[in-house]
């Protein structure tokens, strides 16, 4: 049981680290949001799953389940709100410099 918990804990720290690295490396707001929101949600969820496996069915694990459901509902809404404010504020999405054939393809 505790071995599974160690695996999930490792996954959680791994995803948190890569989310932060991605947020520092990517070039504009939207791509940063992609990296940060996804990896943060996954790291928190895997931490909660690991703790629920460790604790079994008790009052602690029910509270953790409530926090997990709440996070699963609100975290996409928060990132959507940031993305929408950036989109309506007029920040253009970054695009890779592309070859001529590709440009003619998208008219």
């Amino acid at each position: 049981m505790i071995f599974i918990f160690y695996i999930f804990l490792f996954l959680s720290i791994f995803f948190a680290f890569f989310g932060n690295i991605g947020m520092l490396r990517f070039p504009d707001v939207y791509t940063r949001l992609q990296a940060s929101s996804k990896c943060a949600t996954t790291s928190l969820l895997s931490l909660f799953i690991g703790l629920m496996i460790l604790k079994g069915f008790s009052s602690i694990s029910v509270r953790i389940l409530v926090i997990a459901i709440f996070f699963l509902l609100t975290s996409p809404v928060a990132s959507h709100a940031i993305g929408r404010s950036a989109y309506e504020g007029g920040i253009l999405p970054w695009r890779r410099v592309r070859k001529k054939e590709d440009i003619s393809e998208d008219k």
Binding site: I13, A16, N20, R63, I67, G89
Partner: protein
């Protein structure tokens, strides 16, 4: 030194990384992304500490913290929604 303390150290170290984005972000939205990333990590630290102290009542603080982080981000984006970039 239990596993939980070491794990919370790791989360604190990664939140130092997202502090860098708050410092250097060129626009306000970039800083908001950093704030959005700090909140889940601090919630993770709080949950790990609550398991370490073995008290169920400490988890309520984490829940309230998550709710308030969500509300503050929504309030700031509500202001930013109507504004253009350089104004």
């Amino acid at each position: 030194m239990s596993v939980f303390v070491i794990a919370s150290f790791c989360f604190l170290a990664t939140s130092l990384l997202s502090l860098i984005r708050i410092i250097i972000g060129p626009t306000a939205q970039d800083r908001l992304v950093g704030l959005n990333l700090i909140v889940p990590q601090v919630v993770a630290i709080m949950v790990l500490m609550a398991i370490n102290f073995n008290r169920a009542i400490y988890l309520d603080v984490a829940l309230v913290y998550a709710i308030l982080g969500f509300i503050s981000i929504i309030a700031i984006t509500k202001y930013l929604k109507g504004k253009k970039l350089h104004e």
